[in-house]
Each structure stands twice: as C-alpha cells, then as structure tokens.
C-alpha cells in the first residue's frame, strides 16, 4: 500500500479500528524477526506503511475428510433478513462414480398442499427429490474459527441441488403405456421387421456413446448407496481437524518471489 492510498482512506481506517474492537493494538515493531511467545500479542510487519494490527493463525487440516458443498438452489439463504430454516432431509442417496446426489425433502403438507390430489394423481407423493451432480472444485477450502485461529479443510466437490420431478415422470410413463395398450392403432399393431446386424467392436467408424450419453449410461447402471443423514456432528469434526492440525508442523520452502515465479 502506498502512502497515497492511505491518505484516501482515512475515514475508513477509523471505522475499521472501531470494528476490530479489543483486537486493535497499534504496536509497531521494527524487527520482524522478533517474535512474541504469546499468540494473542500483536505482531507487526515492516510491510509498507500499513502495519499489521492483528494476525489470525491459519491452519490446514482434515486431509482425510471428504467435504462437499450442497447448494440448495430453491431455498433462500435469508428470509426476511433472517437465516432461513434448514429443510428437513429424510433420505440421501449417492452414486460414487458419477458423483450423483439425491436428497429427499418431505413436503410441507400443511400449507398449499392438496393431499387428496397427491394421492389421486401422483401416487401419494410425500417428498421432494433434489438431485445434483458433484463438480470437482480444486483449491477450495471450508474455513471455521476456533479459539481465534482459522482452520481450512479442503472441499472436494460442489453440488447444485435442483428439484427432480420423479413422480411426474413415473405417472407419465404409466399413462403412456396404458394409452398405447388401449388405443391400439393399426400402425402400432402392425408387425415390424427388425433387422439386426453385428458389427465389430474394433470398428473405428462405429458410433460410441460419448459425453453426456455415456455419463447417463454410467449413472443409470451404477447402484446407488443409501446414506444415513446425520446432524449435529460438527463439534466432533472440528475437534478432529484441530487435533490433526496441531500434530503436524510444516515449513515453507520458497520465498514470495520464488513462489510467484513458480506460479507463472
């Protein structure tokens, strides 16, 4: 930060100082190699004219954890400026190979829900199924704070969960089948000649399933695992990450310049 930029933001600075509250101790230590034993002590840096007033230690951990992000596209984060209620989850299913998630959310039958109609037309649907595919998300970390230290745990995938209207598809299919049985038209009853030919698998010109079709095929053939949905396990998770992190010590190899060069 240059001197001028500091000048520009005098007002903001004051505001920040207020925000940081007790953490603010404006100590300037010339020698960066001087280290305080106490973590809470304020460290400073000779970095420009913008001294550091507070440091929050940053730890990595949870390399064995398998974290994922769920994005509930049809659920608001805030309702009327307050965090919305978390949807209840009755079942979760997962296909490992295709990273396909399926989650059942019981429908709220108390408001704007016609139970008779659900029974009559939709095979008594009771849950809304949310479905989504986990997308790899490298170098994304989920952070939590404990004891004024930040802990980062790598996130594997991010999944957008969207409503999937299974029950409509099922009913439609059934209807169609019944229809074709009832209105047997001459065209549908006419015998059809099906010619089959066998082609060599090694034939390069043969059309293979690729891309989306292949993904669908793999997903359809894969057996899904039913998962137990557990809540309130966060404290155990935090403890294990903190413990793991405290047991390991790492030492940086590169300087800032070397790192930048390495990056480029």
């Amino acid at each position: 930060m240059s001197e001028n930029e500091n000048k520009l933001f005098v007002a903001e600075e004051e505001e920040d100082v207020v925000l940081e509250g007790n953490a603010v101790q404006e100590v300037e230590i010339e020698d960066i190699r001087m280290i305080d034993e106490d973590d809470d002590e304020v460290n400073s840096d000779v970095c420009d004219l913008d001294p550091i007033v507070k440091e929050i230690p940053l730890n990595f951990g949870g390399k064995d954890e398998n974290l994922h992000i769920f994005q509930y596209i049809n659920k608001l984060r805030l309702v009327n400026h307050k965090p919305s209620e978390h949807p209840p989850i009755s079942a979760a299913r997962y296909k490992t190979k295709s990273a396909l998630w399926e989650i059942d959310v019981p429908l709220d039958s108390k408001a704007f829900f016609n139970e008779d109609k659900a029974k009559e037309n939709w095979n008594g649907v009771e849950v809304q199924t949310l479905k989504g595919v986990g997308v790899d998300n490298t170098s994304q970390y989920a952070a939590f704070m404990e004891d004024n230290q930040a802990y980062l745990v790598p996130v594997k995938t991010t999944t957008q969960l969207k409503p999937f209207f299974k029950y409509i598809d099922a009913v439609n299919l059934k209807k169609k089948q019944e229809e074709s049985k009832l209105n047997a038209t001459p065209a549908s009853q006419r015998a059809q000649v099906v010619t089959m030919s066998v082609k060599s698998v090694n034939d390069a010109s043969q059309n293979r399933l690729t891309g989306s079709l292949l993904a669908h095929k793999v997903a359809d053939e894969e057996i899904q695992t039913d998962l137990n949905w557990a809540e309130n396990t966060v404290s155990q998770f935090r403890e294990s990450v903190i413990k793991e992190s405290s047991e390991s010590t790492v030492k940086p190899v590169e300087s800032h310049e070397e790192y930048i060069n390495h990056l480029i």
């Binding site: 951990g61 974290l67 805030l78 309702v79 557990a230 940086p252």
Partner: protein
C-alpha cells in the same frame, strides 16, 4: 405421439374436436347495472366494505353462497391461465378486500392464520425497508393506509428486490429457537411468497404519471441558450507544446495520486470507488470471521490459488532439536511462527536447517498439507491479507449467493455409509497472490 409433451392439450384436441368456443353475445345492460359498474372505480373500497358489513350482519343462507357480487354480473371471471384475475372473492368465505389469488388448498387453516399474522405484522416488518422502498410502497398504499389499520390485508403489491436476500445478515442477531407460534407460521408463509410483484392499481396510475411529468418538465425561460465560449487564440503555442503541457499535467496528476500508470482504472473516481469496494469487502470478511468464531456451524469458503507455496514436513521432535530453543511442543503456533520467520533468516545464511529437513522428507503434496501454514493479517487500514508460508496473498469477497449452502462430510465406508451435515456456508473469500510485494 413420441414427445409426450402437453398431453392435456392433445387429449382435449382429440376428444372434443367438435367443440368450439361459443361466441358470446353481450346483452346491453340495464341502466342500473351500468351505473353500478361505473361507480365501482371510484367507490371500490366503499362498496366492498358495504358488502362486508352486510355479510357480517347476517350470514348468507347456504343457497346463495355462490352468488357473485353485482358488479361482476355479466362478466366472466377467469380463474386459471395467464389472464386469471388476481383478486376476487374466495367463495364468499373470506374478507372480500383481501387480494388473495385463489389457490387450491388455500383454505387450509394454517394458511389463513399465517396470512392473518403476516398482515397484522406488516407494520413492523416494513421497518426493515430502506426509505426509498418505503416511498415506492407509499404510492400504492397511500389510499388504504388511513382507514384500514385494523383490517387484515395481504399486500400482494409489496416489492422485494434481490437486495433483500443478498443483504449481509452478519450484524443481525438471530432469533432464539423457541419462536412464538404465530411467528413460525408467519415465517412459513413468507417462505412461500418470497417475491411479490409490484402492483399498481388503476387509481394510482394517474398519480404516478403526474409525478413523472413533474420530474421531467422544465419551465421555459427567456434567457438565451448559453453559447459555446469563444476559444482564445493560441497562436503563440504550437500544437506540440500544448500536447507536451498536457502530458506533463497528466504526469503530475498521476504522481499526486501515486497511481500505477499501468493501472486499468480510467480515472481517479474509479480508483477511489474500487478501493472503497475493497475496503467494504474486507470489513465484511472481518465480520464474517467474527461470526464464525461465535457460531459452531458456520463456514466460510476460501478459494485459494490453484498452486500453494511448497512446504516441507517437519516432525515436532525434530523441530525441537533443530531450533534449540525451549519451546513447548504443544504450543504449535509459536513453533511454526518461528519456523517461518527463521526461514527469512535462512535466506541469508547458508541453508543448514532446511537441508536437514529436506533430507528427511520431500515436499508435502498440496492436498495433504496439514498444520499451521501462515496467518490472516488485518492491517491498520482495514485491509486483510493472508500470509501462506512466505507468500503474501490478497483477499476479496466473492459474489454473495442468495440460496442456502451447506457443508457436508461424506463417509463412504461400505459398512456404515453416511452424510454428516456440518453447517452452513456464510460466504466466500477469494485469495489471490499479491504481485505488489
């Protein structure tokens, strides 16, 4: 046959192919009827309230329950489809002034209760609005606000903007779990109607137009239009000199601002704006970090550079021997602080210690990096930077999501597969390597 789309359309076409819409011959209405409908526009409210009064005095006999109001005589109320009427009486059972769209299942008691409780609380929920939203709403509500304070109403005209959902909730205290019953219901209904369309009634159109007119018309004056100033002759200075002067001026200004000439910003204003935005980001990040330390089940996402600085693993025991200082091994932070700081020294001195450790173990792969790696640093100016190893990173806030996000842990153990819900995502921070250092 194959598409399976719009089966209802096809069915009806096949089944009732002979049917056509009957042409509607509209009979001329009697004078009374015409008067009644003409009056409706001005005295809509009055009429309705009269109807209400009637109803409340003597309940209608069963047979007349479905009788339509007089002003709806000879009119067809479309109840479904894109042209559906937004508000009409709900089977005569509700208050006629309520603008409920008739919805199947809408007569459930919960809905009714919820609506009532929303309506009774519109006063306090409105407090959340900023002033200009309120002004907008006043245009719509001005006619009704005075006399109907006690009347339960469901304001379909209330407009929500994305800002309502995006707004930072970090400074809002979350309510306790044991909410009151009606509060819970109100919440439910609010979730069902998160966005409501802006509705301007006929009566208000004139008012709005008038306002627009007022704002654009400018009274004419007799003064002549200001002419273009006559250019002073600059014969003495050549074009080249002028350009040179300008260049120098520009350089001076840039120096005053101390702006990097390579900066992509157009002008001073933009730079200021950008800096202000960054500061805002940092304040928000700080708030979120603060919230994280208060709440167990909140997470903040960090998008790190794809490649992090390289680290070597050092076992704690080895470190003790190496550093030769009486450090408590449990006090991990100070140990690693020392290591990083020492490394700065190590750049100058012959790298004895590093060599020792590298012999022991190779670089730690990025995904297995564990332990203290650096710090989030809060500067005096409010800026937040991150130090990872010896590399300095800059932070900024990623765009805010309006939808709910969870962090979950998957356990793929074949014996007891499961998912653990760990908590919610509060926001996202982008971390980029700093090129200024």
């Amino acid at each position: 046959m194959s598409s399976g789309r719009l089966p209802s359309l096809r069915d009806s076409a096949g089944g009732k192919s002979g049917l056509k819409f009957k042409p509607k011959a509209v009979a001329r209405r009697s004078k009374e009827e015409r008067d009644a409908s003409a009056l409706k526009i001005q005295k809509d409210e009055d009429l309705k309230s009269k109807v209400d009064q009637k109803k409340s005095k003597k309940p209608m006999p069963m047979g007349q329950k479905n009788r339509v109001p007089r002003y709806l005589n000879n009119t067809h109320v479309i109840s479904t489809g894109p042209l559906a009427a937004g508000n009409f009486t709900d089977g005569g059972r509700t208050d006629t002034r309520r603008g409920i769209v008739k919805v199947e299942g809408g007569d459930k008691s919960l809905v009714r209760k919820g609506l009532q409780s929303i309506e009774n609380h519109t006063g306090d929920s409105d407090d959340d609005y900023d002033s200009d939203t309120k002004e907008k709403l006043n245009i719509i509500e001005n006619g009704e606000s005075e006399d109907n304070v006690n009347q339960a109403k469901f304001n379909m005209g209330r407009e929500y903007t994305t800002a309502n959902f995006k707004q930072d909730d970090s400074d809002i205290e979350e309510e306790e779990l044991d909410m009151e019953d009606d509060a819970v219901q109100r919440r439910r209904i609010e979730e069902l109607f998160p966005v409501r369309p802006l509705r301007i009634r006929h009566e208000d159109v004139d008012v709005v137009e008038q306002k627009i007119d007022e704002s654009i018309t400018e009274s004419t004056t007799r003064e002549p239009t200001p002419a273009v100033g006559i250019l002073k002759s600059e014969e003495s200075a050549s074009l080249h000199d002028v350009l040179k002067n300008k260049e120098v001026e520009l350089q001076n200004e840039l120096e005053n601002l101390q702006i990097d000439p390579d900066s992509h910003a157009i002008d001073e204003e933009e730079i200021k704006h950008e800096q202000a935005m960054l500061i805002k980001d940092h304040i928000s990040i700080l708030k979120k970090l603060d919230k994280l330390s208060k709440k167990n089940d909140r997470f903040l996402l960090f998008q790190m550079p794809y490649k992090l600085p390289t680290f070597n693993e050092v076992t704690t025991k080895k470190e003790d021997a190496d550093v030769t200082m009486d450090v408590d091994p449990a006090n991990n932070e100070s140990v690693s602080e020392k290591i990083t700081e020492e490394n700065v020294e190590a750049n100058k001195k012959p790298k004895k210690k590093t060599k020792k450790t590298t012999k022991k173990k190779d670089h730690v792969p990025q995904e297995e990096l564990t332990g203290n790696v650096g710090a989030i640093r809060i500067h005096k100016s409010g800026k937040i930077s991150i130090r990872i190893g010896n590399a300095i990173m800059e932070t900024s806030k990623a765009s805010e999501a309006t939808f709910l996000q969870d962090v979950i842990a998957l356990n793929e153990d074949p014996d007891a597969p499961g998912v653990e819900l760990l908590g919610r995502v509060e926001g996202k921070v982008m971390v980029t390597p700093s090129f200024d250092v």
